[in-house]
Protein backbone atom coordinates (compact mmCIF):
# COMPACT_ATOMS: atom_id res chain seq x y z
CA UNK A 1 0.00 0.00 0.00
CA UNK A 2 2.40 2.68 -1.25
CA UNK A 3 -0.48 5.17 -1.29
CA UNK A 4 -0.87 5.05 2.49
CA UNK A 5 -1.30 8.56 3.83
CA UNK A 6 -2.39 9.97 0.48
CA UNK A 7 -4.60 13.04 0.83
CA UNK A 8 -6.24 14.84 -2.07
CA UNK A 9 -8.51 17.86 -1.84
CA UNK A 10 -10.48 19.67 -4.53
CA UNK A 11 -12.93 22.56 -4.35
CA UNK A 12 -15.37 23.19 -7.19
CA UNK A 13 -18.09 25.70 -7.95
CA UNK A 14 -21.64 24.39 -8.05
CA UNK A 15 -21.84 23.35 -11.68
CA UNK A 16 -22.94 19.91 -12.79
CA UNK A 17 -20.12 19.75 -15.32
CA UNK A 18 -17.63 19.75 -12.42
CA UNK A 19 -19.01 16.52 -10.96
CA UNK A 20 -16.91 14.38 -13.23
CA UNK A 21 -13.69 16.03 -12.06
CA UNK A 22 -14.30 14.79 -8.54
CA UNK A 23 -15.50 11.39 -9.72
CA UNK A 24 -12.35 10.87 -11.78
CA UNK A 25 -10.12 11.72 -8.81
CA UNK A 26 -11.95 9.14 -6.71
CA UNK A 27 -11.64 6.44 -9.35
CA UNK A 28 -7.95 7.09 -10.00
CA UNK A 29 -7.12 7.15 -6.30
CA UNK A 30 -8.87 3.81 -5.81
CA UNK A 31 -7.22 2.22 -8.84
CA UNK A 32 -3.80 3.49 -7.78
CA UNK A 33 -4.42 1.99 -4.34
CA UNK A 34 -5.00 -1.41 -5.91
CA UNK A 35 -8.81 -1.49 -6.12
CA UNK A 36 -10.13 -3.31 -9.16
CA UNK A 37 -11.80 -1.39 -11.98
CA UNK A 38 -15.36 -2.30 -10.99
CA UNK A 39 -14.81 -1.40 -7.34
CA UNK A 40 -13.24 1.90 -8.30
CA UNK A 41 -16.17 2.61 -10.61
CA UNK A 42 -18.75 2.09 -7.87
CA UNK A 43 -16.87 4.33 -5.43
CA UNK A 44 -16.67 6.93 -8.19
CA UNK A 45 -20.41 6.60 -8.63
CA UNK A 46 -21.02 7.17 -4.91
CA UNK A 47 -18.87 10.30 -5.14
CA UNK A 48 -20.78 11.44 -8.23
CA UNK A 49 -24.08 11.11 -6.37
CA UNK A 50 -22.72 12.90 -3.30
CA UNK A 51 -21.38 15.84 -5.30
CA UNK A 52 -24.56 16.08 -7.37
CA UNK A 53 -26.62 16.26 -4.18
CA UNK A 54 -24.30 18.90 -2.73
CA UNK A 55 -24.64 21.03 -5.87
CA UNK A 56 -28.37 20.55 -6.43
CA UNK A 57 -29.92 20.14 -2.99
CA UNK A 58 -27.21 21.73 -0.84
CA UNK A 59 -25.99 24.74 -2.79
CA UNK A 60 -29.13 24.87 -4.94
CA UNK A 61 -27.08 25.44 -8.09
CA UNK A 62 -25.68 28.73 -6.78
CA UNK A 63 -22.35 28.85 -8.61
CA UNK A 64 -20.94 31.25 -5.96
CA UNK A 65 -21.19 28.43 -3.44
CA UNK A 66 -18.50 25.79 -3.35
CA UNK A 67 -18.37 22.06 -2.91
CA UNK A 68 -15.26 20.68 -1.25
CA UNK A 69 -14.12 17.08 -1.53
CA UNK A 70 -11.28 15.45 0.38
CA UNK A 71 -9.96 11.94 -0.06
CA UNK A 72 -7.77 10.37 2.60
CA UNK A 73 -6.24 6.94 2.44
CA UNK A 74 -4.98 5.22 5.60
CA UNK A 75 -3.87 1.73 4.85
CA UNK A 76 -6.80 0.24 2.95
CA UNK A 77 -9.31 2.60 4.57
CA UNK A 78 -10.57 5.38 2.33
CA UNK A 79 -12.36 8.36 3.85
CA UNK A 80 -14.19 10.76 1.55
CA UNK A 81 -15.66 14.01 2.78
CA UNK A 82 -18.01 16.07 0.62
CA UNK A 83 -19.02 19.47 2.00
CA UNK A 84 -21.41 22.09 0.71
CA UNK A 85 -22.63 25.52 1.86
CA UNK A 86 -26.32 24.67 1.95
CA UNK A 87 -28.90 24.66 4.68
CA UNK A 88 -28.88 20.94 5.34
CA UNK A 89 -31.72 18.42 5.47
CA UNK A 90 -33.10 15.68 7.67
CA UNK A 91 -31.64 12.35 6.53
CA UNK A 92 -34.44 10.57 8.42
CA UNK A 93 -36.96 12.04 5.99
CA UNK A 94 -35.28 10.58 2.93
CA UNK A 95 -37.65 7.95 1.60
CA UNK A 96 -36.67 4.34 0.93
CA UNK A 97 -36.53 3.83 -2.85
CA UNK A 98 -37.13 0.10 -2.38
CA UNK A 99 -40.50 0.71 -0.75
CA UNK A 100 -43.06 -0.39 -3.39
CA UNK A 101 -44.78 2.98 -3.01
CA UNK A 102 -41.56 4.71 -4.07
CA UNK A 103 -40.39 2.31 -6.75
CA UNK A 104 -41.67 4.42 -9.65
CA UNK A 105 -40.49 7.76 -8.30
CA UNK A 106 -38.20 9.65 -10.63
CA UNK A 107 -35.86 10.78 -7.84
CA UNK A 108 -34.60 9.73 -4.42
CA UNK A 109 -32.07 7.03 -5.29
CA UNK A 110 -28.80 8.96 -4.85
CA UNK A 111 -28.29 8.33 -1.14
CA UNK A 112 -29.38 4.72 -1.59
CA UNK A 113 -26.65 4.20 -4.19
CA UNK A 114 -24.07 5.81 -1.88
CA UNK A 115 -25.05 3.44 0.93
CA UNK A 116 -24.92 0.51 -1.46
CA UNK A 117 -21.44 1.22 -2.78
CA UNK A 118 -19.75 2.45 0.39
CA UNK A 119 -19.26 0.75 3.76
CA UNK A 120 -20.69 3.66 5.71
CA UNK A 121 -22.06 7.13 5.09
CA UNK A 122 -22.80 9.78 7.71
CA UNK A 123 -24.10 13.33 7.41
CA UNK A 124 -23.26 16.13 9.81
CA UNK A 125 -24.56 19.68 9.78
CA UNK A 126 -22.82 22.88 10.85
CA UNK A 127 -24.90 25.22 12.96
CA UNK A 128 -23.80 28.12 10.78
CA UNK A 129 -24.86 26.30 7.62
CA UNK A 130 -23.24 23.71 5.46
CA UNK A 131 -23.51 19.96 5.24
CA UNK A 132 -20.65 17.49 5.45
CA UNK A 133 -20.97 13.94 4.21
CA UNK A 134 -18.41 11.36 5.36
CA UNK A 135 -18.22 8.18 3.33
CA UNK A 136 -15.86 5.35 4.20
CA UNK A 137 -14.74 2.29 2.32
CA UNK A 138 -12.26 -0.46 3.06
CA UNK A 139 -10.63 -1.06 -0.30
CA UNK A 140 -9.54 -4.57 0.65
CA UNK A 141 -13.16 -5.73 0.78
CA UNK A 142 -13.73 -5.71 -2.96
CA UNK A 143 -16.31 -3.89 -5.05
CA UNK A 144 -18.95 -3.92 -2.34
CA UNK A 145 -21.97 -3.58 -4.60
CA UNK A 146 -24.99 -4.99 -2.81
CA UNK A 147 -25.58 -7.89 -5.18
CA UNK A 148 -22.01 -9.10 -4.69
CA UNK A 149 -22.05 -8.51 -0.91
CA UNK A 150 -24.67 -11.21 -0.47
Amino acid sequence: MDRDGERIEITISSRFENIELVQVIAEHLCENAGMDEDGSHWIGMAVREAVANAIKHGNKLDIRKKVNATFELRGFDLEIRISDEGEGFDPEKVSDPLNPQNLMKTSGRGIFYMKTFMDQIRYSFNTGGGTMLLMTKNLAKGSGIASSKA
Binding site: E17, H41, A52, L98, R109, G110, Y113
Partner: protein, 111 residues
Protein backbone atom coordinates in the same frame (compact mmCIF):
# COMPACT_ATOMS: atom_id res chain seq x y z
CA UNK B 1 -25.95 12.01 -25.14
CA UNK B 2 -26.82 11.13 -28.71
CA UNK B 3 -30.08 9.50 -29.72
CA UNK B 4 -30.89 7.97 -33.11
CA UNK B 5 -34.30 6.55 -33.91
CA UNK B 6 -35.65 4.15 -36.50
CA UNK B 7 -39.05 2.59 -36.97
CA UNK B 8 -39.32 -1.17 -37.35
CA UNK B 9 -42.85 -2.50 -37.83
CA UNK B 10 -44.36 0.27 -35.72
CA UNK B 11 -41.80 -0.01 -32.94
CA UNK B 12 -39.60 3.04 -32.41
CA UNK B 13 -36.09 1.80 -31.69
CA UNK B 14 -34.08 4.55 -30.04
CA UNK B 15 -30.35 3.98 -29.72
CA UNK B 16 -28.89 6.02 -26.88
CA UNK B 17 -25.17 6.76 -26.80
CA UNK B 18 -23.03 8.53 -24.22
CA UNK B 19 -23.93 9.78 -20.77
CA UNK B 20 -27.34 9.95 -19.13
CA UNK B 21 -26.41 11.99 -16.08
CA UNK B 22 -27.62 14.97 -14.10
CA UNK B 23 -27.67 18.17 -16.13
CA UNK B 24 -26.74 16.36 -19.30
CA UNK B 25 -28.41 13.37 -20.93
CA UNK B 26 -31.25 13.19 -18.40
CA UNK B 27 -33.18 16.12 -19.89
CA UNK B 28 -32.31 14.98 -23.42
CA UNK B 29 -33.83 11.56 -22.74
CA UNK B 30 -37.05 13.25 -21.57
CA UNK B 31 -37.10 15.27 -24.79
CA UNK B 32 -36.51 12.21 -26.98
CA UNK B 33 -39.38 10.33 -25.36
CA UNK B 34 -41.60 13.42 -25.49
CA UNK B 35 -40.93 13.82 -29.21
CA UNK B 36 -41.69 10.16 -29.88
CA UNK B 37 -44.97 10.40 -27.98
CA UNK B 38 -45.89 13.62 -29.84
CA UNK B 39 -45.26 11.80 -33.12
CA UNK B 40 -47.77 9.14 -32.08
CA UNK B 41 -45.22 6.47 -31.18
CA UNK B 42 -46.17 4.45 -28.15
CA UNK B 43 -44.10 1.31 -28.67
CA UNK B 44 -40.58 2.29 -27.75
CA UNK B 45 -37.50 0.12 -27.50
CA UNK B 46 -34.48 1.85 -25.95
CA UNK B 47 -31.20 0.36 -27.14
CA UNK B 48 -28.87 1.05 -24.20
CA UNK B 49 -25.72 -0.58 -25.62
CA UNK B 50 -24.02 2.78 -26.24
CA UNK B 51 -24.70 4.25 -22.80
CA UNK B 52 -21.33 4.84 -21.15
CA UNK B 53 -22.38 6.43 -17.86
CA UNK B 54 -25.67 6.70 -16.00
CA UNK B 55 -26.41 8.09 -12.56
CA UNK B 56 -29.47 8.25 -10.31
CA UNK B 57 -30.88 11.14 -12.37
CA UNK B 58 -30.56 9.06 -15.52
CA UNK B 59 -32.19 6.11 -13.79
CA UNK B 60 -34.96 8.47 -12.68
CA UNK B 61 -35.47 9.62 -16.26
CA UNK B 62 -35.76 6.01 -17.42
CA UNK B 63 -38.47 5.47 -14.80
CA UNK B 64 -40.21 8.71 -15.84
CA UNK B 65 -40.04 7.68 -19.50
CA UNK B 66 -41.55 4.30 -18.69
CA UNK B 67 -44.42 5.97 -16.84
CA UNK B 68 -44.98 8.59 -19.55
CA UNK B 69 -45.30 5.93 -22.25
CA UNK B 70 -47.41 3.60 -20.08
CA UNK B 71 -49.81 6.43 -19.20
CA UNK B 72 -50.50 6.82 -22.91
CA UNK B 73 -51.29 3.15 -23.32
CA UNK B 74 -47.88 2.32 -24.74
CA UNK B 75 -44.91 0.24 -23.76
CA UNK B 76 -41.26 1.11 -23.22
CA UNK B 77 -38.75 -1.72 -23.13
CA UNK B 78 -34.97 -1.94 -22.87
CA UNK B 79 -32.47 -3.63 -25.16
CA UNK B 80 -28.80 -4.50 -24.64
CA UNK B 81 -28.26 -3.32 -21.06
CA UNK B 82 -24.61 -2.62 -20.20
CA UNK B 83 -23.50 -4.63 -17.16
CA UNK B 84 -23.23 -1.66 -14.82
CA UNK B 85 -26.66 -0.31 -15.74
CA UNK B 86 -28.03 -3.80 -15.17
CA UNK B 87 -26.50 -3.74 -11.66
CA UNK B 88 -28.03 -0.34 -10.92
CA UNK B 89 -31.48 -1.57 -11.94
CA UNK B 90 -31.03 -4.74 -9.86
CA UNK B 91 -30.02 -3.04 -6.61
CA UNK B 92 -32.98 -0.65 -6.85
CA UNK B 93 -35.33 -3.51 -7.85
CA UNK B 94 -36.26 -1.62 -11.00
CA UNK B 95 -35.26 -4.68 -12.97
CA UNK B 96 -38.67 -6.03 -11.94
CA UNK B 97 -40.34 -3.08 -13.68
CA UNK B 98 -38.59 -3.01 -17.04
CA UNK B 99 -38.79 -5.67 -19.71
CA UNK B 100 -35.20 -6.21 -20.81
CA UNK B 101 -34.04 -7.99 -23.96
CA UNK B 102 -30.67 -9.03 -25.32
CA UNK B 103 -31.99 -9.80 -28.78
CA UNK B 104 -33.63 -7.16 -30.98
CA UNK B 105 -35.86 -9.59 -32.88
CA UNK B 106 -37.20 -11.03 -29.62
CA UNK B 107 -37.77 -7.55 -28.27
CA UNK B 108 -39.69 -6.51 -31.39
CA UNK B 109 -41.82 -9.66 -31.29
CA UNK B 110 -42.78 -8.92 -27.68
CA UNK B 111 -44.69 -5.71 -28.50
Amino acid sequence: MKATSRDVNGVEIVKLEGKITIGSGDSQLREVIGNAISAGKNKILLDMSGVTTIDSSGIGELVGSYTTVANRGGKLKLLHLPAKLNELLHVTQLITVFEVYENEAEALASF
